[in-house]
């Protein structure tokens, strides 16, 4: 399978679509991978864009590094990957922690981002402790905290449950992910206010992160808020609706 070494880490990548403005899609933590976007959304985007998907370090088919799960290091991974992939500004779209990586990259290199889509960005992540709570639960409780789809997936046999348990075990006790999450700082308003890239903030109306969307849309000078029925797991729960809103944004003349 295709891999690229970026920022010293072996990342699993996938490219879809032959023409159009480039888009990179970034998934969320732990149970996320490029599969979050691959089935459904990515194929629709690829009708109008060159789409780059990758697995974050420690996820999916990418290298399981022990360290580097802070937003800054992951934004460096993205920077190196994009430098290797496109020689023009890119539409950067991220979900959950992936949205924080997208935001960090845009703040550090706004000239390399043509548009920014932040889906359910939990800012700062330490104030939205779902992942940390999840990782600190004993294994027998973790099952009950999974999304219904994920629960169905791991309960229909032994193999997926065993592999998920191994991944959780790795991030609980061998990787720095939990510590890196806790230490990822908030982005101060004055830094957000200086980012003029056209930005879409997409949130679920019942999401615990919903207030972050209000703040980002108010403070970022060129942002708009879109909300839809649903909670934090918008992309998995309503892929069709998320696709429609994202395509409207990537193809529209925002900005």
């Amino acid at each position: 399978m295709p891999h690229v070494v970026a920022n010293g880490v072996r990342l699993h990548v996938q490219r879809l679509g032959a023409e159009g403005p480039p888009v990179v899609l970034i998934h969320g933590l732990v149970v996320g991978s490029m599969a979050t976007w691959y089935f459904g959304l990515a194929a629709k985007l690829a009708e109008h864009h060159r789409v780059l998907l990758y697995d974050l370090r420690g996820h999916g088919g990418s290298e399981r590094t022990q360290t580097g799960y802070d937003v800054g290091t992951m934004a460096e991974d993205l920077s190196a990957l994009l430098a290797d992939s496109f020689d023009e500004p890119v539409i950067v779209a991220g979900y959950s922690y992936g949205a924080l990586v997208a935001l960090r990259f845009a703040l550090d290199a706004p000239e390399r981002v043509s548009k920014l889509a932040l889906v359910e960005a939990p800012l700062p992540p330490s104030a939205h402790g779902e992942v940390m709570e999840f990782l600190s639960m004993p294994p027998e409780k973790q099952f009950g905290a999974l999304s219904p789809a994920m629960r169905r997936s791991v309960s229909s046999g032994q193999r997926r449950a065993r592999r998920l348990a191994a991944l959780l075990q790795f991030h609980q006790s061998e990787s720095s992910l939990v510590r890196d999450l806790q230490e990822t700082p908030d982005v101060p308003d004055h830094e957000l206010a200086a980012l003029h890239v056209p930005t879409l903030c997409l949130y679920g109306q019942e999401s615990p992160c919903r207030d972050v969307g209000d703040r980002l849309a108010a403070v970022l000078p060129n942002a708009r808020l879109a909300s839809m029925t649903g909670g934090h797991r918008l992309v998995q729960e309503s892929p069709g609706d998320v696709t429609a809103v994202l395509l409207d944004f990537t193809r529209g003349d925002d900005g």
Binding site: M1, F39, A42, A43, G60, S153, S156, G157
Partner: protein, 92 residues
């Protein structure tokens, strides 16, 4: 290129993707399901798609094919569905 040839190729690629964690005890047939029988993870479906595309060419658009399915179709997807899709791409 017959069903049997494509099935043999898909069989080999499934085993490559699943690696040492391959657990299915029966022979892979057209009726074998990816979800209940093989217990493939969604990221492994993506990796299988990459292998198919590399082998059969860009005419195989797995992401678009699966993207238009309903959830229950994806859950019940069989190896035979995939073999027939590959064959339809090669004859159309």
């Amino acid at each position: 290129m017959t069903h049997a040839d494509i099935l043999a190729t898909v069989d080999r690629m499934i085993r490559e993707v699943m690696g040492e964690d391959y657990v299915y005890e029966d022979e892979i047939t057209m009726a074998t399901t990816f979800n209940a029988d093989l217990e493939l993870e969604s990221i492994e479906m993506v990796q299988l798609a990459e292998k198919l595309q590399a082998h059969y060419g860009e005419g195989i658009n797995f992401a678009a094919w699966m993207g238009q399915m309903e959830l229950d179709e994806i859950i019940n997807l069989t190896v035979g569905d995939l073999v027939e899709y590959v064959e339809s791409c090669r004859t159309s």
